[in-house]
Every structure is written in C-alpha cells, then in structure tokens.
Symmetry: C2
Subunit: 196 residues, 2 copies
C-alpha cells in the first residue's frame, strides 16, 4: 500500500524530524522554532536535515500533506457510500472535526495569537480544497451566474476555518458532532443559495 522508500534510514530520519517539529509546535508555536531546535530534539545532524528538507517550512508542509491525504481519503469514501445529496457535505465535515479533535493539542498551539500564521494559511488552503470538491460536486455542472461556485467555496471554507479555530481553542462547549451540526446549519443555506 505505502510507497517503498527502500532505505529505512530515510524514513526513520524523516519521522524523527516530523515528530520533533510537532512536539516543538506544541511548546512554542511554529514561527519561534529554529532548525537547530528541531535537529536537537530529533537528534539528527544538521547536514542531514538539509539533505531532506529545504527549510522548516518544507518540513511542515510535508507533514501536513499526510493530513491532507487522510482527509481526502475519507472524503472519497464518503462520496461513494453516502447517498443523499445533502449528506455529502456532512460526511466530509464530520471527519474534519473528528480529526481536529484528535490533534487538538497541536491545533491549540497553532491558534496562538501571532505564532502559526503560516500553518493557519496552509490549513485554510486544505479546507478550501476539500470544500471545493464537495461544493462543486453538489452544485453540479449548472454554474449559476448570480453566485459563482468558487465564491461560495471560499465563503464556506472561510467559515469552516473560523469555526474550527474557535472550536479548537476550546471556547465552545461542544462535541465534534455538535459543532459539525452547527457548521452544516450555517453553511447549507449558502450552498443552497449558490445552487438555486
């Protein structure tokens, strides 16, 4: 299933670096981290780091790619199994909130005022891509002149992002199911407006 990398030293090193980055993000947020911090924590040589990644941002996106792939997978499965046309958005968002709940520690660290602006940007983009697939599939081919679907996508994804960050911060006393239901209640009218 997974792609063969054929040298386990590579996998090991990359895993160590990703894990180190993760734990450091929880501690001090992303922007405050130096490459030195990462390789110290990972116990990996400096040259080794640069043999694998261009810089710390590169390492970060390589990690988020895992998240992105996982979410895309869930989305794809949901598209196959669920039938009702307005259950599809649910299936995707539910998985997203569940994922956030799982990585809540990292999320909370990223939400901090200044630190983590880049991560937020990347997450926002991931959400945009996910929402786009769902919305475009739902709206279908009949593009509406009064509400361009891409505008709806950006609106809904932005809303999802805002809501997610608030929820991840723990400011809402809600379960993943509840916040997901709330999201759908807020977002569905917008999607409907686009498809009208």
């Amino acid at each position: 299933m997974a792609v063969r990398k054929s040298d386990r030293r590579v996998q090991r090193t990359q895993e160590l670096l990703r894990a180190a980055l993760l734990s450091l993000i929880e501690q001090k947020g992303f922007e405050a981290i130096s490459v030195q911090n990462i390789i110290d924590r990972a116990n990996v040589g400096r040259a080794t780091f640069y043999a694998h990644f261009d810089n710390k941002e590169d390492l970060l996106v390589s990690g988020l790619d895992g998240l992105r792939a996982a979410l895309k997978d869930h989305q794809r499965q949901a598209h196959l199994h669920r039938g009702g046309s307005d259950e599809r958005l649910l299936a995707f968002s539910h998985e997203m909130f569940a994922h956030i709940a799982e990585y809540r520690d990292v999320f909370r660290a990223m939400v901090g005022k200044r630190s983590g602006a880049l991560i937020q940007q990347l997450l926002h983009k991931i959400m945009v891509d996910l929402v786009r697939d769902d919305v475009k599939a739902m709206v279908g081919q009949r593009e509406n002149k009064s509400a361009p679907s891409e505008a709806v996508v950006q609106f809904v994804a932005g809303g999802l992002f805002g809501l997610s960050m608030l929820w991840a911060e723990g400011k809402l006393r809600m379960s993943a199911e509840e916040v997901n239901a709330l999201f759908r209640r807020l977002a569905m009218p917008a999607v409907t407006a686009a498809a009208r």
Copy 2:
C-alpha cells in the same frame, strides 16, 4: 479632531517608514522584507527605525491600525444613520469591500501563496472584530443555546475573509456592490439562524 503629536519629525519618519513598507509589500510580499530594506527605501537611519518600532511586524500593525480605525468609524456612523435591522450588516460590509478595492494593489500582493501569512492573520482578526460588533448588536441580548453568537461571528467573518481574498485577487468579475450583495446573501441566513 486628530491627536496632536507635537513633533512633525516623528510623524514624518513614521510616515516614511509606513510608505516604504507598503511599497515593499507590493513588490515582494511581507515576509521577504528585511528591516534594512525598509530603512533603505525610507532613507531613514537604522537606530531611528528601532526608536519607533520594535520590528517590522510592529510597523505593520501600526499601519493596519489606521485601517481598523477607519473601518470602525464607518461602522459607527452606519449604525447611527441606517434604520432597518438587516441593513446594518450591509452598511459595514459595503465599506469594507470599497476599502479593499481602494487598496487592491496591496491586497493582491498580500494574497500571494506563502508571503503575507501574518498580514492575512491580522486582517482576519480585524474582520472578526467588525463582524462581531454587528452580529452581537443584531442578535441582541437573547443568546441562543443552539447557536452561540461567537460561533456565528467566526463563521461569518471567516466567510467574509475568504470571499474578500478571492475578490481581491481579481478572480471574480464583480464590482464592490455586487460582491457585497453576494456576501450578504450568503451570510444573512447564518446570522438569521443564530437569532432564531
């Protein structure tokens, strides 16, 4: 009306620095700029820069504070003049899109993939604050248990942000009036859902 700063050298220097930052942002985005770049462009001494601002981020937020204040002002006036309860949200957002249109060059520079993550974060926050004032005023005191108003705020502000960035990029062939109308059409159901 304006606060007296009493020494025009200070104003002059700060204006020069802000203008330099602005023009540099249009060129290379925010993150790629160094303090050296700024003081070269502004033709201001290094020590002088640090006498006024802690770092380039400090300079940036001091500039955005102007924008924030202007928008808040417009919002306050709109609250006084407009009557209909669902025209208030319009009044605020219309001004926002007009502002974006005016500074479209800077906005477009900020939207670039990687550079400008911090600015985006700050803008997002400004929008959240503006939306909060409007939504909380509209929802009134009767807080709803099924839809916490702060959740609605974050959702709507996130949507506004996403839509604004898309529009600022020029990907929508719309006037400020049109995109504003679209925003309201997408957002109003969410606000209504909260007040129900």
